[in-house]
């Protein structure tokens, strides 16, 4: 199960598992984001390279427009994957 929701304060809330079987759904949602945004990963249990690719593509598109995504509340396992992939160079992570 994977869910993409936008909270009342504008935060993007991801939950569940962002694996290859859910990356197309995630891509469609992120394609709609045209302004800088905070992505709250508090309830995201897992991400694979398919999910990383979705976030990367969104960040690249937004950066080209002078905007970007800020990622918050990621669990330690996901944080480790981001560090190995050096996505800490690509995203603002809190």
């Amino acid at each position: 199960m994977f869910q993409f929701r936008i909270a009342q304060d504008g935060q993007i809330l991801l939950s569940g598992r962002l694996d290859a079987s859910h990356s197309e759904v995630a891509k469609k949602e992120f394609d709609k984001i045209t302004e800088s945004a905070v992505v709250n990963l508090r309830d995201l249990e897992y991400i694979s390279s398919a999910g990383l690719g979705v976030l990367f593509a969104a960040q690249k598109r937004l950066k080209d427009a002078g905007k970007g995504l800020k990622l918050i509340n990621m669990n330690q396992h996901i944080r480790d994957v981001f560090r190995y992939a050096r996505f800490d160079l690509i995203f603002e992570i809190e």
Partner: protein, 140 residues
């Protein structure tokens, strides 16, 4: 037909991304039986997804992948067997450079790069019919 004992389980999965849910449950069952911690389980699930989805995307010539999980002391081994005409050795694939800026980075290749970070050994063999990939994770 799935087979299992305490330290070894194996099952075949249809080559479809929708098999991932069952594959994660398969890994979860093994992890629980073998008292693997959350970090070890995350790493194994990640590596299993990456190898499996590579087989789905790049080898459409077969319909199933056989996956096995076994533990021998500190070594957890994950095996994949797939019918593959043209060998595709993931251990020799050119690695991505994760230190490039976002402008210079390209998508793709990250999965295999991360498998090598999260697992301790990656082996590939091809006997003319079957590709066999074996991943090893050393656990305490």
């Amino acid at each position: 037909m799935p087979s299992s004992d305490f330290n070894h389980i194996e099952e075949s999965f249809a080559k479809d991304f929708l098999s991932l849910k069952a594959i994660f449950e398969f890994v979860g069952t093994f992890s629980t039986s073998n008292n693997l911690d959350d970090s070890q389980t995350f790493s194994i699930k990640f590596a299993v997804e990456e190898v499996f989805t590579n087989m789905v995307k790049y080898n459409p010539g077969s319909t199933e992948v056989a996956i096995s999980l076994s533990r021998d002391g500190k070594n957890v081994k994950v095996g994949f067997v797939d019918v593959e005409e043209q060998p595709f050795d993931i251990t020799t694939k050119e690695e991505v450079n994760p230190n490039l800026s976002i402008e210079k980075r390209r998508p793709g290749g990250l999965g295999i790069f991360l498998i090598k970070k999260l697992m301790d050994k990656v082996e590939y063999a091809h006997d003319g019919i079957y590709s066999r990939i074996t991943l090893t994770k050393i656990v305490e």
